[in-house]
Amino acid sequence: MGAEISLSDLSPGIKATIVALHGGHGFQRRLRTMGIREGKTIIVVAKQPFGGPLVLEVDGKRTTLGRGMARRILVRWEG
């Protein structure tokens, strides 16, 4: 059982599982319809410097997400 951390703290290239989404209802729906859902495996592909956005991969599909939004996604890291 790994530790639960916020997605913004996950290092690039490491697999984790999405545990919970926080934030408003509309925001959560947007995440889910873009494929970011509880139970999915997620990898951070790249982190843009200076507090820039993250590039995520879920189900082989990539999404760019602002750092603040990434803080509202809780993941369990399998390390």
Partner: protein, 571 residues
């Protein structure tokens, strides 16, 4: 007439399906009361003509932006919906599919990117899916046209689903999970070469040099296309065929007002840029000098768009744009605006927050010269040396950043973070690129020529009645003090409201020095957008917002003009 609406998530190849279905007769227009543009076309279906509408891409029927609202409206006017679904991405695409089916409208599903799905090891059992959804499901590869015939032949089978009932959001995801389990099988796959390229273009260390190279290449391609067209097509046409014709017309007309308006001053050599006649400058500037670059620009941009590079660029640029009060998507209005400010201004709406739209629109109007203007700046300053051209664009670049940082600090409101899908790289379809390029060029033609004609006409009339000379005299002290320019340059500023390229051309006969031309061209860009852009911006920002934006523009123009004057001409 029966109406078929294409609905689907963004980036599923919906527009390619659309162009496969409709052929050449496509009209792009704004949705009534909004600035969301969409395409509308027609096709024959069983001897009957039906209307086809390409709705904006949407992830769900609970709209989160203007474009999605429009998509929802279009749905309400649909007789049949073709739901285009990305087969490589079935799970999340099905959310919209289920929402559509729950509404009880006749639906047919196009399972697009069928080849790509198989290529990456995703197998979808389309028969089982058809069974579970209760509506026809047709695999398609819009890019090659595969499956499109089958899709068309089965449109008549589109029906409301008898299998799907309205449920809550959570239950919908449960249903999707159950469907996926039954219809989809995924083979394990290794990272392909394209994946690795995708990684490289989005990791900052390698991505930024690649971005610089891509932009440089894009710039060279625009020039190459533009210059090739000018050298081999337009210059030969205007110089060898058109000029003799105009010369004959000139002799036949003789001196007089009509000659001044149609051709220019009688007795001087005909010059397509300086003569300022309707049939000389009025035709040559938009068609001979600007159109070739517009073609090159929109062709290049359409390729960048269709390969999927732009979202990556937006990701890389996000950090910078965030400092300017926008997010990475701000690169899109900026880019489009470099072609023509009008589509740039329209793209502003894709940003969620009012603050972002205001900043993006204001910066567009201040610091982004359109291709028409760029071509003219190269034209008038190029002969004095390339460094003068650089001065203009360097000043504008700095302005974009500085004004952006200032606006971000003082404009109230939130600016949400970036959230966008990165589609896989795709080979662009020549057909789709050609179509997109053509539709954008048509925009320019419909917009440029009428205003340029009007501009030339107004100049000629005001000249004949002596108004322009009077105005030049009145504004002379101000122009001289503030910008170090002669009074006549104010005429160009006024005309700049109609067409910037025409205005830049009007600076030529004034005999300005290179430094003065730099100041005039820069001020011309900043002080106000052309009337076509202005109209769009009023719609986007509202009268009050536009008034605020316009005051910022004028203030910036005066300040920058004055600073340049001090730097280039001394006190």
């Amino acid at each position: 007439m029966k109406r078929i609406v294409l609905m689907g998530n963004p980036n599923v190849g919906k527009s390619v399906v659309f162009s496969r279905l409709t052929g050449a007769n496509v009209i792009a227009s704004n949705y009534p009361g909004t600035t969301v543009d969409f395409s509308r076309g027609r096709m024959k279906l069983g001897g009957e003509t039906v209307e086809i509408i390409d709705a904006p891409g949407t992830y769900s029927l609970e709209p989160s932006n203007r474009a999605e609202e429009v998509a929802l409206h279009m749905l309400q006017e649909a007789d049949v919906v073709i739901n285009v679904v990305d087969a490589t991405n079935l799970e999340r695409n099905l959310y919209l599919t289920l929402e559509l089916l729950e509404r009880g409208i006749p639906v047919i599903v196009a399972l697009n990117m069928w080849d790509e799905a198989r290529h990456v090891g995703i197998h979808v059992d389309e028969r089982a899916l058809e069974e579970l959804l209760g509506v026809p499901v047709v695999p398609t590869v819009a890019l090659t046209g595969e499956g499109i015939k089958a899709l068309v032949s089965r449109i008549s089978e589109a029906r409301p689903s008898d299998r799907i009932r309205p449920v809550t959001e959570d239950e919908r995801w449960v249903t999707i999970g159950a469907i996926i389990k039954q219809v989809e099988r995924v083979e394990h796959r290794h990272h392909t070469l394209w994946d690795r390229i995708s990684d490289m273009t989005i990791t900052p260390l390698t991505g930024i040099p690649i971005a610089v190279a891509v932009l440089l290449f894009a710039f060279l391609l625009v020039r190459l296309i533009g210059e090739t067209l000018i050298t081999y097509v337009l210059d030969p046409f205007f110089n060898s065929l058109y000029l003799p014709l105009i010369e004959r017309l000139s002799e036949w007309l003789g001196p007089g007002i009509l000659h001044s308006i149609l051709i220019g001053e009688y007795g001087t050599d005909i010059n397509f840029i300086e003569s300022l006649g309707l049939l000389t400058t009025g035709l040559y500037v938009p068609l001979g000098a600007v159109l070739p670059y517009i073609i090159g620009f929109y062709f290049t941009l359409s390729i960048l768009e269709d390969t999927g590079y732009l979202p990556r660029l937006a990701t890389l640029m996000d950090t910078v744009f965030h400092r300017l009060g926008m997010h990475g998507y701000g690169i899109v209005p900026l880019f489009l605006g470099l072609g023509c400010n009008v589509p740039g201004a329209l793209a502003v709406r894709n940003m969620e927050a009012k603050k972002q739209r205001f900043i993006s629109a204001t910066l567009l109007a201040i610091a982004v010269p359109c291709m028409a203007q760029t071509a003219m700046v190269f034209g008038i300053l190029g002969p004095y040396g390339f460094h003068y051209v650089v001065m203009v664009f360097f000043t504008l670049g700095i302005l974009y950043l500085v004004v952006g940082i200032i606006l971000n600090r003082f404009i109230p409101g939130e600016s949400p973070e970036i959230f966008l899908e990165i589609p896989p790289y795709r080979r662009p379809s020549i057909r789709a690129v050609a179509k997109k390029t053509w539709m954008r060029i048509r925009w320019f033609l419909g917009d440029a020529i009428p205003y340029l004609f009007l501009g030339v006409f107004v100049v000629n009339v005001l000249y004949v009645v002596g108004f322009l000379q009077w105005l030049g005299d009145v504004l002379s002290p101000f122009m001289h003090m503030a910008f170090g320019l002669p009074g006549e340059a104010s005429i160009a500023l006024i005309i700049g409201f109609l067409r910037k390229d025409l205005a830049v051309g009007m600076l030529l006969p004034l005999g300005l020095s290179a430094a003065q031309l730099v100041i005039a061209a820069t001020v011309l860009t900043i002080y106000f957008p052309c009337i076509a852009t202005f109209t769009v911006l009023i719609k986007e920002l509202g009268i009050k917002g536009m008034a605020a934006s316009a005051s910022i523009m004028v203030a910036t123009a005066v300040t920058v003009g004055f600073i340049l004057r001090i730097i280039l001409l001394g006190v």
